[in-house]
């Protein structure tokens, strides 16, 4: 939609008057994050007074030092990264395989199976969490990173998004490769997957966000603080250090930074993914 054709007014400003609305509104959204960064570089003396320091005269690394000495943030960071990478790869690989089978291959019961899988999309996590915990316990995975990976290794959303994408691709290219004697798996890997870039991006982004940001499931599945994820570690650390705000904010920045960097680096992919998940849902 383009803006409405407006009768030309005399410009009384060197810039659009809309900036008077846009700037304060977007600042309102940005300021809490600015405050997060600023306060993580303040000392507790600067923070714990009223009114607090707004613009610090000096920057301090006390918070970061405290966090590294008194908590396992590097370990938690590594755990979160391992879990996120494995889960994203799992969703890509199994999502492509499953989505391709549902889109292109004929096999008995495929329609019923697809319907059943899509049905699980609407099952809320709360009714599956207790039995899932018991299953993970039986598998000996509780309190290991495995418990965080297995249940989300492939999601119905990933299978569905890939299926929809493959359906939108022309069959002819695949059939040409197939006629030339390429095996199914080779056709999939060399012909279909390279065309599926947008779907790969969408699934990767949605999976990464959900996995990295989750708190509920790690809270249930993990006890030992060596196996915490960043979110669980941060929540626990804050609970134990209510007055060490500069350290808590340093930890908070560590937990948020990867997502922020990923978002700023791939903003288009993020926004397209979020919007497309809406249209499909």
């Amino acid at each position: 939609m383009t803006t409405l054709p407006v009768h030309r007014r005399r410009r009384w400003l060197p810039f659009s008057p809309w900036h008077f609305v846009l700037a304060p509104v977007s600042l309102l959204f940005g300021l809490p994050l600015v405050w997060l960064v600023l306060s993580s570089f303040m000392s507790n003396a600067q923070i714990n007074r009223f009114p607090p320091t707004i613009i610090p005269h000096s920057l301090h690394l006390d918070g970061y030092r405290y966090v590294l000495d008194n908590a396992l943030f590097p370990r938690w960071f590594l755990n979160s990264a391992i879990v996120a990478v494995v889960v994203v790869i799992g969703n890509l690989v199994f999502g492509i395989l499953g989505g391709y089978a549902f889109a292109r291959l004929r096999f008995g019961g495929s329609r019923a199976l697809l319907a059943l899988m899509l049905g699980t999309l609407v099952i809320p996590f709360q009714i599956t969490m207790i039995p899932t915990f018991l299953i993970m316990k039986d598998l000996g995975l509780v309190d290991t990173l495995g418990a965080l990976m297995v249940p989300s290794l492939v999601t119905p959303l990933a299978v569905f998004l890939f299926r929809q994408f493959f359906l939108s691709l022309p069959r002819e290219v695949e059939e040409a490769a197939w006629m030339d004697g390429c095996s199914r798996l080779r056709t999939l890997w060399h012909v279909v997957v390279p065309m599926a870039r947008p779907a790969l991006g969408t699934v990767a982004v949605l999976t990464f966000l959900a996995t990295w940001n989750d708190l509920t499931w790690p809270l249930i599945a993990i006890n030992n603080d060596h196996n915490y994820t960043l979110q669980l570690g941060l929540a626990t650390f804050q609970g134990q250090h209510r007055t060490e705000w500069s350290a808590v904010m340093a930890g908070n920045l560590i937990a948020v930074l990867p997502v922020l960097i990923a978002f700023l680096a791939a903003q288009r992919t993020f926004i397209r993914s979020l919007a497309s998940s809406a249209v499909k849902g």
Partner: protein, 316 residues
């Protein structure tokens, strides 16, 4: 890629009867398909359908997850209906949802209209509005516990400049729940903006121009062109945001743990507490099923309304 095709062409030569070989390869289609879907089916059904049924059975039992469970029939559900803590949790969840859903959708629409214009720096403005959405609920909770800290928080400092007395915020049982809504809006509005902006950009410019040539003002154009075109987005957001807010947990856990004085216990917090703190698993499962039932009724209800709408439109 090129070499591959050349190899493929060489491979084709010895085949005398292409139809027969194709038929033979087709034969393996079903088994190939099953091997492709097997991992997804195993995980999604094994950790989706199976736990769902298991949970239903659990909700009819008295179980602490350690000693053998006892069959109690519908007693858990009956107890829930009288339990003042559960009723309070349902009440808090409904208040939260009733505030968050309309505010996030209206706010998202307003901001999307505001951000849908070509001015300098618009990319930066959009980024600032979206960015809170990718911040985890945990990180939001921690950040805003600090900002709304009743002693050293930034919020009270700002109020102090305007000579407004310091507030308790999360420590005040009459404010904590509303504060949670406010924080959820800070991050949740961005998603509505993304969805609405995508919708706005799909409206053909000719349609808007035609309306203005026909003499429609801004208000009329919005009412008769823009708003109807955004309808699918509005319905989606209505369902999505309602489901999300009925299931709110992470931020409550991080900021208030249901307090002060149980003023922010929401349904999922109640379920989690019953299951993993009190080890009353059967009771927790029943609570989860009540929530799931509510979610199901709601999403079916909204879908039916939407279908009715579509019929009306197509008849026109």
């Amino acid at each position: 890629m090129k070499t591959q095709f050349r190899v493929a062409v060489v491979n084709r030569e010895p085949v005398r009867d292409p139809a027969r070989s194709l038929r033979r390869r087709r034969y393996g289609e079903a088994s190939t398909a099953w091997s492709y879907v097997l991992p997804s089916v195993a995980i999604i059904l094994g950790l989706g359908i199976v736990p769902m049924v298991w949970s239903l059975v659990l909700s009819l039992q008295s179980s602490d997850l350690i000693t053998p469970a006892q069959w109690v029939g519908l007693k858990n559900y009956e107890t829930l209906s009288h339990d003042p803590n559960f009723r309070a949790a349902v009440g808090h969840t409904l208040i939260y949802t009733a505030l968050f859903v309309p505010l996030s959708i209206a706010g998202g629409l307003g901001l999307a209209l505001l951000l849908n214009r070509k001015v300098r720096l618009i990319g930066l403005y959009r980024t600032l509005v979206f960015v809170p959405f990718v911040v985890s609920a945990t990180a939001q909770g921690v950040l805003f516990s600090f900002i709304f800290d009743s002693h050293f928080g930034l919020a009270n400092a700002v109020l102090h400049w305007f000579d407004i007395p310091a507030q308790g915020f999360f420590a005040d049982k009459s404010q904590a729940l509303y504060l949670l809504v406010l924080i959820a809006l800070w991050s949740g509005v961005g998603f509505c903006v993304v969805v609405y902006l995508a919708g706005l950009q799909d409206i053909p410019a000719e349609l808007v121009e035609a309306a203005s040539i026909d003499g429609a003002g801004r208000g009329a154009t919005f009412r008769f062109v823009v708003w109807p075109a955004l309808r699918p987005m509005t319905v989606f957001l209505l369902i999505w945001e309602t489901l999300q807010s009925l299931q709110v947990f992470d931020m409550v856990f991080v900021t208030t743990r249901g307090g002060p004085l149980e003023s922010t216990t929401v349904v999922v917090f109640f379920v989690w507490q019953q299951a993993f703190e009190v080890f009353n698993a059967g009771y927790a499962a029943a609570g989860a099923y009540v929530l799931a039932f509510g979610l199901l009724v709601l999403s079916i209800g909204i879908r039916l309304i939407r279908r009715g709408d579509e019929r009306k439109v197509s008849r026109r």
